[in-house]
């Protein structure tokens, strides 16, 4: 097409406009986006290490020993995941956010210790989930998530 009417525009004409517009879609869990926004603005409460460790991850036992240190069995992962999903579906606003963060921690732990995804359907979705969660969890758990983000992953069958 002849673009001789194109006005001067800093954004090049061949920019992937569809890709840019896709940023308006739901790239990641809206619950996590709320956490990211509070972390970004530094104007609200974020979960503490204590609340994460005593939340739905604790359904399988000691969250730190199981999911941070890698002691979890497949059954522990399953138990914690079911507990997280139940809280995400039925909890209060704060509990639902905690559940979403806990699911991201489970995802990170599974990537590190099992090299696979369970919560996310694709590597791209996992990348967005982990990055968003890392913005809102206490530093120790953020280290786990950052470690997972650097690892090669594959979606589960």
């Amino acid at each position: 097409m002849n673009h001789n009417m194109e006005r001067f525009n800093d954004i090049p004409a061949n920019t992937d406009c569809l890709g840019m517009l896709s940023s308006l879609g739901d790239e990641t869990d809206p619950l996590l986006l709320r956490v990211v926004d509070r972390a970004r603005r530094r104007d609200g409460l974020l979960p503490t290490a204590r609340s994460i460790e005593s939340g739905p991850l604790a359904a399988a036992g000691c969250a730190t020993g199981l999911f941070f240190d890698g002691g979890a069995t497949d059954e522990d992962f399953l138990l914690a995941r079911v507990s997280c999903e139940a809280m995400r579906d039925t909890g209060s606003a704060a509990e639902r956010e905690l559940a979403a963060l806990s699911l991201a921690i489970l995802e990170a732990s599974l990537i590190i210790y099992r090299r696979r995804l369970v919560v996310s359907a694709s590597a791209r979705e996992a990348d967005a989930r982990l990055a968003a969660a890392a913005a809102g969890v206490p530093s120790a758990w953020a280290r786990l998530i950052h470690a997972a983000m650097r690892m090669p992953i594959r979606a589960s069958a």
Partner: protein, 239 residues
């Protein structure tokens, strides 16, 4: 084809569109001549490029340069006192109202050219431009969507720069335009993974606001924004 016939909807009275519903343009109309001047300036700034690009790619391009044709269209329509009153009554998005009017104007131009050539050179054959209103509207939607996204991106980027978030905008572009993961952004920009999500989000919020502002000015209501964005994404999808 009449100027508003491409997607006919029941006419509505102007007072059924409060300013909050039809956005900035209606509020400007209520301010008389000064408001109308602001509308005309906005229309020319925002819609000249997509209208020009549309005609440049259409069979009407033989009628003149895109710049001249768009200028002629604006001169003939924007001077009409009731032009935007009729837009409000049409209940169409502004871009659709304009492309309908532009197609009508091009047909007028075609008739004028034919008449002039018949007078001066009766035996000369004239290429007959072909246009299908529905196809033209779809094509214009695609061109307008791309122009709107770039305009919104410019606005958002300028705002990011003004607020000291230039790096955030670069990360936003790398992620959403070039497909770079947050994990790789963290390495490329020497931040943590959590910071990469947070910084991209800072820019994407500004981009969203810029898109919303343009859609509201085009006549979308708050309730229609999500549908309108989905429609634009469909328009931009290849093939």
């Amino acid at each position: 084809m009449s100027e508003s016939s491409a997607r006919s909807t029941p006419p509505s009275r102007r007072d059924s569109f409060p300013a909050t519903q039809r956005g900035w343009l209606v509020a400007q109309l209520a301010q008389g001549a000064q408001g109308l001047a602001r509308i005309n300036a906005y229309i020319m700034e925002t819609y000249a490029e997509p209208l020009g690009n549309y005609v440049a790619g259409s069979s009407f391009r033989s009628l003149g340069t895109p710049k001249d044709l768009v200028s002629g269209f604006f001169a003939s329509r924007l001077a009409q006192p009731a032009y935007f009153d009729r837009w409000i009554e049409s209940n169409l998005p502004l871009r659709r109202w304009l492309i309908n009017g532009f197609l009508f104007f091009l047909q007028e131009e075609l008739r004028r050219h034919k008449s002039e050539r018949a007078d001066s050179l009766a035996s000369t054959a004239i290429d007959e431009p072909r246009s299908n209103a529905e196809t033209a509207v779809e094509e214009f939607d695609r061109i307008w969507a791309a122009s709107m996204v770039r305009s919104a991106a410019n606005t958002a980027r300028e705002r990011c720069v003004q607020e000291g978030f230039e790096k955030h905008w670069s990360m936003f572009e790398r992620h959403f335009v070039h497909g770079v993961s947050y994990a790789d952004l963290a390495v490329e920009f020497e931040v943590t993974g959590g910071q990469s999500a947070s910084m991209v989000r800072t820019a994407s919020i500004r981009f969203r606001q810029a898109v919303v502002d343009l859609l509201l000015k085009d006549g979308a209501t708050e309730e229609e924004l999500d549908d309108e964005i989905a429609r634009l994404m469909r328009a931009l999808k290849p093939g």
